[in-house]
Symmetry: C2
Subunit: 153 residues, 2 copies
């Protein structure tokens, strides 16, 4: 996986992600990790702005599912339907959003439904980490819809 | 209320809000409305990026509470604790996040607790609107902590 190409794709197609400084720094087929520097995401208290944290968390789930569906060869439209974020430790450092696939059976059920019905929903969880602390926990529900025409990556 | 000064404050202290293009366009003491143009917030499908919508929603709650606490003369630190956002219609237009205070009794209870205990939590709801549609509904829990030293606005 060329992580630089993933970062370039995000910055090109979702311009706010370039302003967040979002970088795809890890992917192993199960987990994706995006990082963001603190400085462009500061708030009035010199910690990370909640809106930046939320945006990176939402993006981490989207990126993981986007990569997995691409690997599965399913041309799709993928959008977020529900986002829920608990903010924990204040973040005073660069931070990361790490999203991991649900257990294999849930992922397989999602793929089967998507192939059979052309539409399926899945929940994924992300952890926000900064230094040694946990900045937050995010749960996102995403909906994928199969598309007929090819979509260039 | 000088709405231009509110916008300037947001852009200066939370730099991502300038990249969102967030503008304070309405405030009547009960409701605050922030707007954002579509273009800097586009996603890969040419609709508004979920992370941008979430950031504007979180900011709308923060801004409303910030202005109200300033009016009440309570010097405080105000942070978001929980964010929950249901995405509804896709947004293909400039959009707004409109946050309204909870009923008077809930607001008064929050102020009383904050004055008595030095710390209080409140939930506020925001509606995301774009054109004639509802792009989403956000609920945010914010925690205010009284500060002793003065804080310049």
């Amino acid at each position: 996986m060329d992580l630089g190409a993933v970062t370039d794709y995000l910055h090109e197609h979702i311009p706010l992600t370039a302003h967040l400084g979002a970088v795809a720094e890890y992917y192993d087929g199960e987990t994706v990790r995006l990082s963001a520097p603190l400085e462009p995401n500061l708030n009035h208290r010199n910690t990370a702005f909640g809106g930046s944290i939320s945006a990176l968390a939402i993006l981490s789930g989207w990126t993981l599912l986007h990569l997995k569906l691409r690997e599965a060869g399913i041309c799709n439209r993928l959008v977020i339907q529900q986002s829920s974020l608990d903010f924990l430790d204040p973040i005073a450092d660069d931070f990361r959003a790490e999203c991991t696939l649900p257990p294999k059976e849930a992922w397989q059920r999602f793929l089967n439904t998507l192939r059979r019905r052309g539409r399926a929903r899945i929940k994924v969880e992300s952890r926000i980490v900064a230094g040694a602390g946990t900045g937050g926990r995010h749960e996102g529900s995403y909906v994928a819809v199969v598309r007929k025409e090819d979509e260039a990556y």
